[in-house]
C-alpha cells in the first residue's frame, strides 16, 4: 500500500452538505469520500492505493481535478484498488456532483 497526500490552496467553490461516498473498493475501482472541512480555503486529498509507484500519475490526475472544480474547504479521502486515471477522474467528478449537484 502507498499513501499519497495532496493539498491545493485558494479554492473558490466551498462545499456544503453531508459527507458523501461514491464507488466501491473493488478491483480496478476505488471509493471516494468527500466532506466539507475548515481548511483555510484549501482542498486536501489523501489517497491510499494498492498500486505502489504511481505518484506522478496521481499528481497529474489530482491537478486536473483541481483545475476543473477549484474546491475550497473540502477533504477528499480515497481508498483505491488499482483504478485507471480515467476511472479516478470520473469517480472524483461523481463525488463532487453528489454534493453540489452541479457541473464544473
Amino acid at each position: 500500500m502507498e499513501t499519497l497526500h495532496y493539498r491545493f490552496e485558494q479554492g473558490t467553490r466551498p462545499l456544503a452538505g453531508m459527507p458523501q461516498l461514491v464507488g466501491v473498493v473493488g478491483s480496478g475501482n476505488l471509493e471516494v469520500l468527500i466532506e466539507a472541512a475548515p481548511l483555510q480555503g484549501a482542498c486536501e486529498i489523501e489517497v491510499r492505493t494498492a498500486a505502489v509507484g504511481f505518484g506522478a500519475t496521481w499528481q497529474a490526475v489530482m491537478a486536473d481535478f483541481h483545475a476543473r472544480w477549484r474546491l475550497a474547504d473540502a477533504r477528499i479521502s480515497i481508498n483505491d484498488m488499482g483504478a485507471t486515471p480515467a476511472v479516478v477522474s470520473l469517480r472524483l467528478d461523481q463525488a463532487v456532483e453528489s454534493l453540489t449537484g452541479g457541473a464544473p
Binding site: M1, P19, L21, V24, V25, G26, N29, E31, L33, E35, R48, T49, A50, S77, N79, D80, M81
Partner: protein, 297 residues
C-alpha cells in the same frame, strides 16, 4: 424494470426503503475500517463493506443493512460483523417494526480468521434474538456475489428469504467445492450447473427461500413489504421447528441419491425440468406452485 443485481449496496438502500428515510449508523465519514486489513497492508473501505441503519418502509420503522459485494466479495470481518450485530441489537431496543437485510457475501473474511468467524456467529445469534423479541427478520438475496458460507446460514435464520433467479444461496461456494473435492464433483466454471444448484429457482423449489421475484428493485421492495406483513409470529417455536425438520426429512428421502438438480425437480413432479431455467419469474412461480418441496404435499 430497474436491476437490483447491478446496484451497489449504497444504491440499493434508497431503492428499497422509503426515499430519503434511511439514517445510517457509523457512516463512512466515521472511518471505522478494518484494523486487520490495515495490518496486512491490504486496502480497506471506510464502511468495511456494509451499510447499517434505520429507515422507513411504507412509513413503518424498519432497521436494515446492505452488504457491498464489490468489496472483498461482501465478506464479513470483525468490524463488518459488529456493525450488523449493533444494528440488530438496537432494533430490539427501539422495538423496530421489522429488520430487512440486503445480503451479498461470500461468508467469513478469511483475512480476519477467528475474528470473522466469531463475528458471523454473533450475527446469527443477534438475528435470532431479534426474532425472539417478536420482530420479523427478512433477508434479500439478489446480488451477483450471492450469499454463501456463514452468511448463507445467517440468511436461513431469517423468517423469510426473498431471492431473484440470479441470486445464489448456499453453504460452500462452487470454487470451494471444486477445490476441496475435485472438478469431477463440481465444475465451478459450468455456470448453468452453478445456477441450477445454488440459484433462486432451485432454492424456491426446495423451500430454502420463500419468495422469488424478477431482478427488479420495485419487485424486491414489494416482496419485502409483503414478507414483513405476512409474518404472524417472528419467534422460533417448537411446532415450527418440528415442521421444518419434517420438511427437511421428507425432502431428503424424496431426493435420495439424486445429484443433478433437474432430476430433483423431476422427482418433485415437474414434467419438463429442462424448461425451468428459461422461464421468467412469473411463469416459473405458476409452474412451481404445486411442486415445492417446502410446501405441504
Amino acid at each position: 424494470m430497474s436491476s437490483y443485481l447491478e446496484l451497489t449496496a449504497r444504491q440499493r438502500i434508497p431503492a428499497i426503503f422509503d426515499a430519503g428515510s434511511f439514517e445510517e449508523f457509523l457512516p463512512p465519514s466515521e472511518r471505522v475500517a478494518s484494523p486487520h486489513l490495515a495490518q496486512l497492508d491490504a486496502p480497506v473501505s471506510f464502511d468495511d463493506g456494509v451499510v447499517v441503519g434505520r429507515g422507513l418502509m411504507d412509513g413503518k420503522v424498519v432497521f436494515g443493512a446492505a452488504q457491498e459485494g464489490g468489496f472483498m466479495g461482501g465478506a464479513v470481518g470483525e468490524v463488518h460483523g459488529a456493525k450488523l450485530v449493533g444494528m440488530l441489537r438496537r432494533a430490539i431496543d427501539e422495538r423496530a417494526h421489522a429488520v430487512l437485510l440486503l445480503l451479498e457475501s461470500g461468508g467469513v473474511r478469511l483475512h480476519e480468521a477467528n475474528a470473522g468467524l466469531i463475528a458471523v456467529s454473533e450475527v446469527m445469534r443477534a438475528m435470532l434474538d431479534v426474532r425472539a423479541a417478536g420482530i420479523p427478520v427478512v433477508a434479500v438475496v439478489g446480488g451477483s456475489n450471492g450469499c454463501f458460507g456463514g452468511m448463507g446460514i445467517s440468511a436461513r435464520c431469517a423468517n423469510v428469504v426473498i431471492m431473484s433467479e440470479e441470486g445464489r444461496l448456499a453453504m460452500s461456494g462452487p470454487e470451494v467445492i471444486e477445490t476441496a473435492n475435485g472438478v469431477e464433483e463440481f465444475d465451478s466454471r459450468d455456470r448453468a450447473l452453478v445456477w441450477r444448484t445454488t440459484g433462486g429457482k432451485h432454492r424456491y423449489l426446495l423451500g430454502d427461500c420463500q419468495m422469488l421475484v424478477a431482478d427488479d428493485t420495485a419487485a424486491f421492495r414489494a416482496a419485502a413489504l409483503e414478507a414483513i406483513a405476512g409474518v404472524e409470529n417472528a419467534r422460533l417455536t417448537l411446532a415450527g421447528l418440528l415442521a421444518e425438520q419434517a420438511m427437511l426429512a421428507r425432502r431428503l428421502s424424496d431426493t435420495q441419491g439424486l445429484v443433478e438438480p433437474m432430476d430433483v425437480w423431476h422427482q418433485l413432479g415437474i414434467a419438463d425440468p429442462a424448461s425451468v431455467p428459461m422461464l421468467e419469474a412469473d411463469a416459473f412461480l405458476q409452474l412451481a406452485a404445486p411442486y415445492r418441496a417446502g410446501e405441504q404435499r
